[in-house]
Symmetry: C2
Subunit: 140 residues, 2 copies
DNA sequence: ATTTGCACTTGCAATTTGCAAGCAAAATTA
DNA sequence: TAATTTTGCTTGCAAATTGCAAGTGCAAAT
């Protein structure tokens, strides 16, 4: 957050998640139930270990994700989206809808995208509620 | 478009507009009626000339923008969003709404964002129709 | 007690970005 | 008509970022 390029909301937002990796990490958190450093490393796009570390730190500093104790082991770190991070879902939803129009969509996502197309608001709200519930439950 | 990192719609989309500059150029086309190389250079974020040239080329290759003859002069080049580019507006809208929640929004954009919050679908459709109309008219 | 798993860090090479200057064609001015 | 300015780039080089491979330190399993 050192230097802002401008006051523009698009520009400010891009400084938070406008790189090649951040939205992919957020995607993994939302759609693939990934939550650890090792999980993110396994994604198809093959992020480098140092880049992953720097992105996770930046996302944490920007309040998009937070670190938690992992229930299974002290050696693991559990990463979770904050409410601020969960609020990015509408953007990710719209990116999916745009991509659906201009790229072939993998089978395993087709159903989700179809739902989103049929009834955007409902699909979105359902998904966001799910994520927030997950966040609350674990605090307990 | 040389090498794809994965089949993921988010990843594919990011390869089109997921850098620090592309969405700002698209923003300028949508919200500030900018349409020439010189216009884009004047933006607050101060993009370098070579980077601007490379981004314009990439956006054109990806079918997001197109070059046109400028009505005023042969020395000028008119850049316009294609329909594919106009379809990015919902994403940009959602980014604005997210930003509105987490950043201070400049006065000159406040009204637009308020409209968007009050009646998202209507505001979005109005704006997209306007952009498409502009695109059609000029072809004549 | 030793090996394995996990979350990183470090060093260095390769790629990308950013800055400053230059350049050709078109338009304007003298 | 000639000189100057505008416009849209390109080029060369330095600085920053990214990517790869090889560690490192602590926790957990064997």
């Amino acid at each position: 957050m050192s230097k802002m390029r401008s006051e523009c909301p698009i520009s400010c937002s891009l400084e938070v998640f406008g790189d090649k990796w951040s939205l992919l990490i957020i995607r993994d958190l939302i759609f693939y139930q990934k939550s650890t450093y090792g999980d993110f490393l396994k994604s198809d796009e093959k992020i480098a270990t140092n880049i992953l570390a720097s992105r996770l730190l930046a996302l944490e500093e920007n309040g998009i994700i937070e670190k938690r104790e992992h229930p299974d082991s002290k050696a693991k770190v559990l990463y979770r989206l904050t409410n601020k991070g969960i609020d990015l879902l509408p953007i990710i939803f719209e990116i999916h809808l745009w991509a659906e129009k201009y790229f072939p969509i993998p089978e395993d996502l087709q159903e989700m995208v179809n739902d989103a197309k049929k009834n955007k608001e409902v699909a979105l709200n359902t998904m966001m509620e799910g994520l927030r519930k997950q966040l609350e439950e674990e605090v307990v």
